[in-house]
Symmetry: C2
Subunit: 269 residues, 2 copies
């Protein structure tokens, strides 16, 4: 694979050290950074402006800036797409506060690391999902981290691992108040009494790029959802930048699918 690392394209088949990051990078030592996952379709990065806007919202929370401007980031993404000849696939952009000596607060003038990796991948990911509601952990609606795409992904990892142990594909996460937030790697939509609804950011939701696109095109209401609301839903679906998938089972209980899910799925074709 050919990837982009802080200013240059690097081939992992080159010298081993080229494909590596400093051991003191705060992305590694403290999870101090943000990332974006973007779909590539027709050799084009999709929803680039929305991804960059969210990246900057995350950086505002963490208090550091990207080492290059959005134009350069866009070029770097294109370079990785071209260098790896990706027609359909996935890009990941990671931005950390960079290498630093010991200390939690971080350096006053950081040297952020920008890493872009990409690979060809089949994005026909509309298949139905069976989920559990995670019991091992909850999202923290009291932290701004619940609303940015930071490198602190362990709660989501614990949740999806619980799901897999129970033979499910995905996990839905509750927040501290016991309300539904999202899946481990996707936003949650439900159709209840004919109305399309999704939990609001204030409940601890990472506002996905595809979530915004669904709300923009199909409309819908942001309001708190409880686990009990799922039993009343005529359709439930999960959205992320790569896919829109019907959620057809939660904790073993079947949920129907229907026309609004189908309409939403057209957004990723």
């Amino acid at each position: 694979m050919i990837f982009y690392l802080s200013g240059r394209l690097v081939d992992t088949n080159g010298a081993p050290g080229d494909a590596a990051i400093d051991l003191t990078d705060r992305g590694l030592t403290l999870g101090d950074g943000v990332f974006e996952t973007m779909a590539v379709r027709g050799a084009q990065v999709t929803h680039l402006a929305a991804h960059l806007a969210r990246l900057h919202r995350g950086l505002d929370v963490l208090g550091f800036e990207a080492p290059v401007d959005d134009g350069e980031i866009g070029h770097a993404l294109e370079h990785v797409v071209q260098a790896n000849a990706i027609t359909e696939g996935v890009l990941r952009l990671t931005l950390t506060r960079g290498p630093a000596p010991r200390g939690l607060a971080g350096p006053e003038k950081p040297s952020p690391s920008l890493i872009i990796t990409g690979a060809t991948q089949d994005l026909d990911l509309g298949r139905p999902v069976a989920a559990i509601i995670a019991t091992c952990t909850r999202r923290n609606e009291h932290s701004p981290l619940s609303r940015i795409k930071s490198l602190n992904y362990l709660d989501n990892i614990l949740a999806v691992r619980e799901a897999r142990q129970q033979g499910a594909d995905e996990a839905l996460l509750l927040n501290g108040a016991g309300n539904l937030v999202s899946a481990s790697a996707a936003n949650l939509f439900a159709v209840i009494d004919g109305e399309l609804v999704t939990p609001p950011a204030s409940d601890g939701v990472l506002e996905g790029v595809m979530r915004a696109e669904v709300l923009r095109v199909l409309g819908g209401t942001e309001r708190t959802l409880t686990p009990g609301d799922l039993a009343r839903a005529s359709e439930v679906f999960l959205t992320n930048s790569l896919s829109i998938r019907p959620l057809t089972k939660v904790d073993g209980v079947e949920i129907g699918t229907g026309p609004i899910t189908e309409q939403a799925q057209k957004l990723v074709c």
Copy 2:
């Protein structure tokens, strides 16, 4: 610096790639790992058994194992102490789930990365601390991550950065219920009505090795503390593996210090 990386000692003055970690390492991409920070005194690693026990409790939560046994980890730590001629200083052991392809759940058979870094550092860190109570974020007592030393350290980073912006040294964090948990990098003790108290793990506390040592030697009670309790405290102090420091100011209000803090401080001499 000479450090230990997954089975070998490496000198950062060697080939650049030697001092680096794979870009696909889940420690970097998802914060998927744990760490320990240990004091070195008299060229010896302090409280090694307690640190290793906590490391394993963290690994149990994350669901992977160290690539080598405790004996080998101990030898590797000693090697780093000797190779860097550390008499007084700090070691950091980082253990990640290792390199992996895309996907949150992680590989069934991971290849964890073990990284040990160390440096000489003056550990005479008993100086008084001024803190704020962080308003930007809270700890998540509903997540097992609040009780292990994972690489997901961003809430603590946000809190200490808020403190520094306000001219304070440290931040105390509340949990979702609004109770006191700890400082950004230390446990919290208070002497109230003559009784030594510290918040219980169930409030979202990382159970520090020095916290356990203080409870073992000085006694004390684990119970929920509210911000209002600090106003009634005759002494407040912060403990971590490197230091025990009196907390003499919170949100601008002075707190006294006294004999129990002094007794505790003898534990790190």
